[in-house]
Symmetry: C2
DNA sequence: ATACTAGGCGAACGATCGTTCGTATACTAG
DNA sequence: CTAGTATACGAACGATCGTTCGCCTAGTAT
């Protein structure tokens, strides 16, 4: 069975539905993601969605997985072009800010929106969101550890990763709430300054350079 | 009419309901805050809540106002005992971390939870949450500006306020999602280091000192 | 051709949502 | 006492929720 037309058709439908689902969930949260509105947004029927994903929880888990793929494709994959260490960290941070600023999801960063939605609950959905963020935090920290080991910077990787991720998420949330793009420039400047203070060579921080000079 | 027993009775009821409402909203969000569950949690009836607050939007606005009072009483008011400038900033940050860590609301910081809920929407509820956070950000920044003017530290108040608030919010969200108190210690350490790097006297940062020495 | 599986949809299920109505109970104002 | 106002509740409203059922089509397997 090299190919199963039925599965292929189902996968295509899932893809279409999940595209709407990730976007809707970034605005309404994983709890506010309703099958009815999703059916309307994706052009299929409630019952189709229910059978494609078995249950709402199945839909939520698939939505998280789909968002994770987009997150990786937009942020992590492109950064792999940079050598490990500070250069890759700078690329990661730049990509992450751009992914939020460009509104890849209508509601900004998918995981910022959904983490707040599930962080006080329990169950597989929360676990899936948590796993995605643990991976992300761990990857940033690992790259910083590499930079420290290579002598590029001098810092505690855990604390520095915490600081940089905090700046990234603050930019996302404040930009959304205030409807203002300035927080991204603010965050980039703070990230750059923080890495410079840790001893990073300025040339390795090009992705975090401000596009326009401060007035 | 020095006192109106009817209004007094209503106000008492509103107080009780709002106590449950702020806690429920910190977990479920302002959208997930349902009148039915709130009625059950607060011991009154759906119709009573509807008449006390006119509509769900009225309830949401009253809930934000109630949470704002608690936020101010827990964080801003106690910090006023400290002199303006770095000492007050340190007190603000310490109080803010404690308010999250002590789970004054079951879902952690009320405004972190609800900001994520409303930041992609529009209307009076979003405006109320935004106004509360603008006030908070502005207060922190004003205290930092005072510290700069007094020569206590050397920094851009806007950027530094952004950094410190980001650390505070990251501690809240990560602690909730990971069910771990360590992010608070991490954030406090980063705040302290950041203020020290800006030239703040160590004695003024006592509230941010780690309770236990690092191993 | 037959049996089986995966989608896909309309219709309906019970549950819960926010809201409204009618009615009863305090309390005030005149 | 009377008229008016602010709670308070039960009951019901229409709408939407997640889910299930029946029925049909598309594709696979034997």
């Amino acid at each position: 069975m090299a190919q199963d037309g039925r599965r292929a058709r189902g996968d295509a439908s899932r893809r279409i539905v999940l595209h709407s689902a990730t976007d809707l969930a970034s605005v309404e949260g994983l709890d506010g993601l309703s099958i009815g509105r999703l059916a309307e947004a994706s052009g299929s029927s409630k019952s189709s969605i229910a059978t494609l994903f078995q249950s709402k929880e199945g839909l939520q888990l698939a939505t998280v997985a789909a968002a994770r793929e987009i997150f990786t494709a937009r942020i992590v994959e492109p950064a792999r072009e940079q050598p490990r260490g500070v250069r890759r960290v700078a690329a990661l941070l730049h990509n992450s800010l751009a992914y939020s600023k460009d509104r890849v999801f209508t509601g900004g960063c998918f995981f910022a929106a959904t983490a707040a939605d599930v962080d006080s609950k329990s169950g597989p959905v929360r676990d899936a969101v948590r796993a995605a963020l643990i991976d992300w935090y761990g990857y940033v920290e690992a790259q910083l550890r590499h930079a420290v080991d290579a002598g590029e910077i001098e810092a505690d990787p855990e604390v520095l990763a915490f600081e940089l991720v905090a700046l990234n998420e603050e930019a996302n949330s404040r930009s959304l709430l205030m409807d203002d793009a300035r927080p991204y420039a603010l965050a980039a400047a703070a990230m750059r300054a923080r890495l410079l203070a840790a001893g990073a060579p300025a040339a390795s921080l090009a992705p975090l350079a401000s596009p326009e000079p401060p007035p």
